[in-house]
Symmetry: C2
Subunit: 99 residues, 2 copies
């Protein structure tokens, strides 16, 4: 299991439209093989910065299967017009949950 962290800076004033776009794209993630969960968080220090946290069964479920699927285009169609810059994406694996 890996978690994709997509850090997305949104154009000033487009925050509500971005959030609505993410909600609209949820079914595309739900349909995607290996996609386990989707959570959206927002930075306190930089309110135009969001992070979409997506759990995938494997790295390739995101980087190969999803990115080459029509669902990726659907996701981008819902939100890309609100991006202030290309998203910065990293994947992380859990080392431990202490408590």
């Amino acid at each position: 299991m890996v978690t994709e962290i997509a850090q997305i800076d949104v154009k000033p004033g487009m925050e509500a439209e971005f959030e609505a776009g993410v909600r609209k794209a949820v079914p595309a993630f739900q349909r995607s093989k290996g996609c386990k969960s989707v959570k959206l968080v927002r930075s306190v220090e930089k309110p135009q910065r969001y992070r979409l946290m997506v759990q995938w069964d494997t790295l390739e479920a995101h980087t190969v299967d999803f990115r080459n699927a029509p669902e990726f285009q659907e996701w981008r169609g819902c939100v890309a017009h609100t991006f202030d810059a290309p998203p910065y994406v990293e994947h992380v694996e859990e080392v431990f949950q202490a408590f």
Copy 2:
């Protein structure tokens, strides 16, 4: 509830020592008022990069109470020698968990 994301780049070869240091510091977080959970994740693309994800009741529980408490010094004492650069810290709030 806010989540602190502390992004920490560790010196090459110090990964195991850093992870052991975080485990050693867990009781200091558990003793800290308003600290709800601690999770350590590691970047797939940059294996020297970790993110400590800490849930706090409030922003101030971290930025004021914890940072001025002896537990902060205890945490730093366990891990600071393994840091390759100062940690980059941001706080995030959940917008929604879609599924």
